[in-house]
Symmetry: none
Subunit: 226 residues, 2 copies
């Protein structure tokens, strides 16, 4: 298994050194940055799986940097964790807006940090973090609705998750196996026609043209621009 790449961002070099030393010893591939701007640079090249970033930094703060990093599609699956001084800080709210995945509170306890890092990396492909959005359709996970040209459509759970999956990579074909694994879970076993029926119901609600069948392969979402 290839070692995970972690980017550390903090304006305090002592903290950087400490964490880098320990994480490298644990077998991670580590890079560091002293500020937000530098972090964006390094992130775009290094493509880390995890970024641990101080919220409060001179020049460009963590929240701002986080927003910038999220703009890079290649970093869509990268997990961003903020370091915050107080656990109940309001910046948490702003941070989640910016696209942060987790918070680590200062002062840092190495043992806690390591177990947290393992947990975050285990999550692996955090496809829930993707912004499922195309020109004419948008998935709103918070409200659990689909917005299609200003029309709000509410969908049952399975249909919602299915559509969200397909929309996570427009034009990409998803095989039945992948759909099962992602929407139903590896262990659940259901009949062959179950997916078809859900596709049917989706097409009924959002229109036939959005979901295309690739016979013998799977399904894909294509945006309808008229």
């Amino acid at each position: 298994m290839k070692s995970s790449k972690i980017l550390l961002v903090d304006d305090d070099e002592d903290i950087l050194d400490l964490l880098e030393y320990n994480l490298t010893k644990e077998g991670y591939e580590v890079k560091t940055a002293l500020n937000g701007e530098k972090a964006i640079e390094v992130a775009n090249e290094f493509l880390p799986e995890l970024i641990i970033m101080d919220v409060m930094m001179p020049e460009m703060d963590g929240i701002e940097a986080c927003g910038e990093i999220r703009k890079n599609k290649l970093l869509a699956n990268t997990i961003i964790a903020f370091l915050t001084a107080r656990s109940e800080d309001y910046s948490q709210i702003a941070g989640f807006d910016a696209g942060a995945d987790d918070y680590i509170t200062k002062p840092i306890k190495p043992k806690v940090l390591f177990s947290k890092i393992k947990g975050l990396l285990r999550r692996g492909t955090v496809e829930d973090q993707l912004i499922e959005e195309t020109a004419t359709m948008r998935i709103d996970r918070e409200k659990y609705i689909v917005v299609q040209r200003d029309t709000e459509i509410s969908l049952p759970k399975k249909e919602f998750e299915l559509l969200a999956l397909l929309m996570s990579k427009p034009d990409n074909v998803f095989t039945r196996e992948k759909i099962f694994a992602s929407v139903w879970g590896d262990d659940i076993v259901v009949g062959d026609r179950t997916i078809d029926v859900h596709i049917r119901k989706l097409r009924e609600k959002i229109g036939d043209d959005y979901i295309k069948t690739v016979k013998g392969v799977g399904y894909k979402f294509v945006d309808v621009e008229d």
Copy 2:
């Protein structure tokens, strides 16, 4: 949208003028104060959303003033940001934990400051949503009642907190987990049907249409405009 109110506090009039000029140009409503005492006075009247205050000032320093300001309940949601010289070790200042929300380092770069202010006020906006109020319903935490089209409804604690939570983000789905964590607390364990019963009682009192069930996901508050 009404413009945000900002209070600037610094003993250097040049800085005050510079910032006031630029922030006013950006569309903010700005007032200034030359010292801590003055700041408290102005803050209590002006009720700004954001206070940017120098840490080091004659008479009463920023930390002391911050503590005083925090005593005013009307300013509970006001964000306080300290201006600090870069060389200063702000961990020391943060140690005081006077209630500051953020730090801005000198020398001030307008561009950075403006983006930071926007960021800070965005938190405020999020916080504003905590004033649970929709077109037809309003939560009054002081009186512990709900006002629905001029009708006052008094609710028991759990029902009140539950409704307040749902109303904190109208249209957003809250999972049972989140509801438990927020209204009951992480450690308290109660039966599965407890939430349902409280939902039932709420629906009985405010009407069925306000709380919508998203099966397999959670509950959401939707405003009824008729």
